[in-house]
Symmetry: C2
Subunit: 502 residues, 2 copies
C-alpha cells in the first residue's frame, strides 16, 4: 500500500491518508472485503501518530466505505466502489433564495427574547407573562402522576385522538360552564397552547392581502402570526371600557376584515375589560357585517374583585364567536395545552390542521390536566391564584404610587397579569431599557403591542405575577428611577419651562 504524505500541504495528514485510501477503494485497488492494515502498523510505516490513522479510518467509516469490528479489523465494504463524492468545489446552498418571502423576511423572535430574559438570579423581571413558579401545585401533580402510573400506565403514552383526550374535553366543558359558556366536550379541540389556535385561525382564514382587526394595543404574538400569514393588521383603539365599538363600524365598512381578534377580558397588555354593553355592540356589529369574532380568553378566570362580565362566547347565540383559552396562565406555561371552542364547521378545520401539522397534544399532559380538574384541584388552585395575584397587583400599584415620576400614569387592572404604564412624553425607549437594565430591572416596551409600531414609546407593560412579591417594590422603585433618569435633561425640565411661542 503506497501512501505518500506531504507534510507541507494545507490538507491535514489524516485527510491525506483518508483521501488516498478512498481513491484506492474507488479504483478497486482495494476491492470489497479487503482488510486494511491495523492502525498501529500503518501509523508506524507512515511515521505518523496512531491517532492520525484512527481518524482517517473513522472518516472512511463515516462515509460508509469501510466497516470495523473488534477483532476483525477494518474491512472495505462491497457497495463502496461505486460510491463517489465529487472532487471539485461544491457551491454552498443559497438558502436565503430558497425561503418563501414571508419567511425570508421575518427574523423577530420577540417571545423567545422575552422568555430568555426572565432568568438571572439578580434580575427583577416584569417582562414575561408567566405564572408564579412558587405557586405551582407541584406536590399535587406528583400525587396525580403517581396515581396515573398505577391506574393507566400505558394509555398515558399512547396517541390520543386528534381532537384531544376525550375526558379532558369533558373537563374543559365543565370549566366552560363556570364561564357561562354552554359547550359539550365535542365542541372543543385541544391545542398546543392557545397560540396554536392563533396560528390555525391565520391558516384557515387569511389569504395574503386580507385584513384582520385587532385591539390597539394587543398581544404581539397575534400581530406577528397574522402578519406572517400575509394579513394587513389594522388596530381598533381601546379606552377604559375596552375596544371602541363606536370606531369599529367605520373600519368594518372600509376594510371588510376577515375577522376581528379580541382579548375582551383583562386585556393583554392594557388590563382593561370590554364592558357588557360594548360586548353586545360588538356582537351586533359582527352579526350585521357577518364578521367572525376570535375571542382569546387566557385571563378571564383570574379576577381579583368580582367576576367579570361573561365572555363573548357566552353572549353569542348565533355561532359567530371562536373561543380560545389555555392552561398556560392558570397553571404552567410549560405544558403547552390550550383549546378552541367553536361552531362545528370551524372545529372540523382546526382538527384537520391539528392532524396534519402535529397529530395531537402530548398525551401525558392531557391525562394530568384532566385528573387535576376532576379532583377539584383546578378550582382550588384558581381560588389561590386570585388571592395571591390580587396581593401582588396591590403591591405593584402601591409601589407605583409611592415612587411615581411626573408624567407617568397607569390603570388598576381588575384581573389578569399586567399594569399598562404610561410614560412621560418623548421618552426614548432604548435609553429607558438601558437605564432600567443597569438597575437589573426588565419590562416590555409598548412598541411590540402596536400593529403600526408608531406608539411604542408611550407605554410599558409591567407584569406582577412572575416576580417574587418582595421584589415588586424595589423593582418598581428602580424602574421609576430609570424613568426619571431617562426623562430628566429633557422633558421633566421642559415641563416647568414651557414658554408660549407667541
Amino acid at each position: 500500500m503506497r501512501i505518500v504524505i506531504n507534510r507541507n500541504a494545507d490538507t491535514p495528514i489524516y485527510l491525506q491518508i483518508k483521501n488516498r485510501l478512498r481513491e484506492m477503494i474507488f479504483s478497486d485497488v482495494l476491492p470489497a472485503g479487503t482488510i486494511l492494515p491495523p492502525e498501529r502498523s500503518l501509523a508506524k510505516s507512515l511515521e505518523v501518530n496512531r491517532s492520525t490513522v484512527i481518524k482517517a479510518y473513522q472518516e472512511l467509516k463515516a462515509d460508509g466505505l469501510v466497516d470495523s469490528h473488534v477483532g476483525k479489523g477494518t474491512i472495505v465494504l462491497s457497495q463502496a466502489k461505486q460510491a463517489a463524492l465529487p472532487d471539485g468545489y461544491i457551491n454552498p446552498l443559497p438558502w436565503y433564495q430558497l425561503f418563501t418571502e414571508t419567511i425570508a423576511g421575518s427574523n423577530d423572535n420577540i417571545i423567545g427574547d422575552i422568555m430568555a430574559i426572565t432568568g438571572g438570579d439578580d434580575l427583577i423581571s416584569f417582562a414575561g407573562g408567566i405564572p408564579a413558579p412558587s405557586l405551582y401545585p407541584v406536590e399535587i401533580m406528583r400525587e396525580i402522576q403517581a396515581d396515573l402510573y398505577r391506574k393507566t400506565s400505558r394509555e398515558m403514552f399512547l396517541h390520543s385522538p386528534v381532537e384531544g383526550h376525550y375526558p379532558l374535553r369533558e373537563s374543559i366543558s365543565y370549566l366552560l360552564r363556570q364561564r357561562q359558556i354552554a359547550a359539550s366536550a365535542k365542541d372543543t379541540v385541544i391545542l398546543s397552547g392557545s397560540q396554536q389556535g392563533l396560528d390555525f385561525a391565520a391558516r384557515i382564514f387569511i389569504r395574503p392581502g386580507d385584513t384582520v382587526l385587532v385591539e390597539e394595543p394587543t398581544f404581539f404574538g397575534a400581530i406577528q402570526i397574522f402578519r406572517s400569514a400575509g394579513a394587513r393588521v389594522i388596530g381598533v383603539p381601546i379606552d377604559q371600557d375596552g375596544l371602541r365599538t363606536d370606531v369599529l363600524e367605520a373600519l368594518l365598512v372600509r376594510h371588510r376584515p376577515k375577522f376581528i381578534y379580541t382579548l375582551p377580558t383583562f386585556q393583554n397588555p392594557s388590563g382593561v375589560t370590554l364592558s357588557l354593553e360594548r360586548r353586545y355592540q360588538l356582537l351586533n356589529l359582527a352579526y350585521q357585517y357577518q364578521l367572525p369574532v376570535l375571542e382569546d380568553d387566557p385571563y378571564g378566570e383570574l379576577y381579583y374583585d368580582s367576576a367579570p362580565v361573561p365572555p363573548l362566547k357566552a353572549l353569542d347565540r348565533h355561532g359567530y364567536v371562536i373561543y380560545l383559552s389555555t392552561f398556560s396562565k392558570s397553571l404552567f406555561l410549560g405544558l403547552r395545552v390550550g383549546w378552541i371552542t367553536a361552531p362545528p364547521q370551524v372545529l372540523a378545520k382546526f382538527a384537520h390542521l391539528k392532524q396534519m401539522t402535529d397529530l395531537h397534544v402530548n398525551t401525558p399532559a392531557q391525562f394530568l390536566l384532566d385528573a387535576f380538574i376532576r379532583r377539584g384541584d383546578y378550582d382550588n388552585h384558581i381560588a389561590l391564584l386570585r388571592q395571591e395575584y390580587a396581593g401582588r397587583r396591590d403591591r405593584m400599584l402601591e409601589a407605583l404610587g409611592k415612587y411615581k415620576v411626573p408624567g407617568t400614569s397607569w390603570n388598576k387592572p381588575l384581573g389578569g397579569y399586567y399594569v399598562w404604564c404610561r410614560l412621560p412624553d418623548n421618552i426614548v425607549r432604548h435609553k429607558l431599557v438601558a437605564n432600567a437594565g443597569k438597575r437589573r430591572v426588565v419590562f416590555l416596551p409598548g412598541e411590540a403591542f402596536y400593529p403600526d409600531g408608531t406608539q411604542g414609546d408611550t407605554h410599558v407593560r409591567l407584569n406582577y405575577t412572575f416576580v417574587n412579591p418582595d421584589q415588586i417594590e424595589p423593582g418598581i422603585k428602580h424602574f421609576m428611577q430609570a424613568v426619571r433618569e431617562t426623562a430628566t435633561d429633557r422633558d421633566l425640565e421642559n415641563e416647568h419651562n414651557i414658554k408660549p411661542l407667541v
Copy 2:
C-alpha cells in the same frame, strides 16, 4: 309585573318569560338595581314549574343582564339597559366562504382515521405505525418521573427555550453520533414530532405552484402537508435499492423542485433502504442542481440484521441535508417529540416558526426523554425493540408464506415497521377492505401513499409492530382469505383460463 304566557306557542315557556323580562330591562321598566321576584313566587303567579323560572333567570344571568347572590335574590345589573341583542333574524355565518381555498377544499383526515381503527378488542390491526404498547418502558418512566419530582420539581413545568431543553439537545447529539452524524446540541431544534418538521419545511420553502419531489410510494402525511402548502408533489419511483437516482436527474431538469423529501432507511411504506451508492448519487445530484434534501429518519435505529448504511446527513459534507427524526417510533407516539438537525440558516427559520406557532415542546416530556437517554435506558430499549420486532417481522413473513395467495408478493424488510405487500392484479380495493373487515382485520390500502393516487389498488401496507405477536398469524391468514375471496370470481379464475386473443 305583567307576563303573559302563550302555552300554544313554539317558544318554550322559560324563553317567553326570559324574553319578556329582557324587554322590561331594556325599556327601563325594570331599572338597574331592581330585585326580581323570588323564583318560587313568580312561578306560583304564572302557574308554571319553579324550574321553568329558574331556567329563565339563568338565561338572563348568562346574558349578563342580571346577577344573583344567595340571600339577596336576582338583581338587574346597571350595564344591562344599554345592552341589546337584535330581535330580527340573524344570518348564520357562511363559514365555508370565509375559509382559504386550500383549507376549504381539504377534508381528509387519513391519519386520524387510521389511529381511530387501531382500537377495538377483537380487531387485528396491521394499519397503524405505532410501537408495541406491551414493550413501553413504563416502569422506568415511573422511576424517572418520581426522581424528577424530587430533583427538579418546578423547572419541569416552566417554559423551555424555543429551540428546546438544552440537556435534551445534548442527549440527541449523542444519539446522532451513534448514527454517524456529527452534530452538536446547537445544531438541533426540538419539535412536536417530526411531522411538525414536515409542516415547517413546507412553510419555509413552498410557494403555491412550487414542485416537491418525493419517493413513490411515500408517507401520506408528507404528501398531504406539501400539497396543502400549494406544492405540486411529483413522485420518483423506487426499486429494491430505494429511490431510482437514474430517473431523478431528468425530473430535476424538468421540474426544478424546491426540495426532495426522502425516507432513505426502511422506507415507509415500502420498507426498502437506499443503497450506499445511490446515497452518493443522490447527494451528487443535489450538489449539482442545488437541491435541498429533506431526510426523514424515524426508523433507522430499528434494524434487525446489521446496521444500515449511514444517513444522508452523515454522508453530506456540504450542508445540503435537513435531517428529521423522532421518538414516536422508538418510544411512544403520545409524547409528540421529534427534532430537526440542519444548517444554521435553516435551523433559525425552524426556531422562528416554532416560537410563532406554539412556542416550544411540552417541557415535562423533554425532561423525561433526556433522563431516559442519559441513564442509558434508551440504548437498552432500542436493543430490546430490535430483538422483539425482528421476531414479529419473521412471524409475519412466515405467515405470509404459509397462507400466500397466487399473485401476492412482498419484500423482506431489514428494519423498520412495514411489509409492503403486492396484491393480485385488478383487485378492487374497497371490496378487499370490506372482506378483511368482516374478518376483523385492518391494514392500509396503498392508495394514500401515491402522490397521483392511481396505483392504489396494487399494494397494501402491513404493520407488524403494534399487534399482539400471537395475532400475527391468524391476522395474516384472515387477510389472505380476504384477498382470495376478493380476487376469486375474477382474476384467479382468469389466471388459468387466459386464451390468446389471436
